[in-house]
């Protein structure tokens, strides 16, 4: 989860996921999309996305095809949906424990 959020902080990695959101693409097509980025750099971005679970890789003959992993995105959405809600629930638990301690004294 943390790796996924970090992976998303880089604009080019977001652009890569956008490219392969609805279709599989080989690394060469992905690299061609970025005129200003070297292939090793693209390759590095693909590794980061793969390690974060956001990208799946499939081999077909000598080619490697990439596609966004939507299941992992679902997990991320859930985490972020709960950001403030879970924070306030933790605040409630901590404050209520403190209140009980006060009343015991």
């Amino acid at each position: 989860m943390d790796a996924a959020l970090k992976a998303l902080a880089e604009p080019r990695r977001r652009e890569i996921l956008r490219l392969v959101w609805v279709r599989e693409l080989p690394a060469t097509d992905i690299a061609d999309h970025f005129g200003d980025v070297t292939r090793p750099a693209i390759s590095q971005h693909l590794s980061v996305l793969k390690a974060a679970g956001l990208l799946s890789e499939r081999r077909e003959g000598t080619r490697r095809l990439y596609q966004a992993n939507r299941d992992e995105m679902q997990n991320l959405r859930k985490f972020l949906d709960e950001y403030w809600t879970s924070g306030l629930e933790r605040l409630r638990d901590a404050a209520e424990a403190a209140q009980r301690d006060k009343e015991k004294r």
Binding site: W21, V22, M73, W84, G87, L88, R90, L91, E96, A98
Partner: protein, 146 residues
């Protein structure tokens, strides 16, 4: 511009809850692993979330036992919600022996919502919006991942 409101009823008095909002040692009991906070107007707000994500801002208004308001954003490169660009307001409303805690998050800048057409961009913006506590509204966009 969306506004997010979250409320929770806490079985404790404002006097008990207040230190959790204003003292670093107590703040990390509910949010963050490191809290560098100086709750007075102009004071720093820095909370490291999940040990990795640096939220940052500045206190704007502090009314003891009633209200803290601070600017809020994320320091990660590329995050569309940069520090200072949004505002969080937490207020305490005593009701009998309990307290209603209300959190309002306002002001996601318009340029945080880039006009992308397809699914990933759509959800990414929703993520960014939700990450800072704004409500992106019902998910009716394209992408088909729901």
């Amino acid at each position: 511009m969306a506004e997010l409101v979250r409320e929770i009823m806490i079985d404790a008095t404002p006097e008990t809850i207040w230190p959790f909002l204003t003292e670093p040692d107590k703040h990390i009991l509910w949010e963050g692993t490191v809290a560098d906070i100086d709750p007075r107007p102009g004071g720093v707000y820095r909370v490291l979330v999940r040990g990795e994500f640096q939220s940052a801002g500045e206190y704007v208004e502090v009314v003891p036992l009633q209200k803290v308001a601070f600017t809020f954003g994320w320091e990660d490169d590329g995050n569309p919600v940069q520090p200072g660009s949004t505002m969080v307001e937490i207020t305490l409303h005593p009701e009998g022996n309990k307290t209603r805690v209300r959190l309002v998050h306002r002001g996601l800048p318009d340029d945080a919502v880039e006009p992308h057409g397809d699914g990933w961009a759509h959800y990414l913006e929703r993520l960014a919006t939700r990450a800072v506590g704004n409500d992106p509204g019902p998910d009716t966009g394209e992408g088909g991942t729901a």
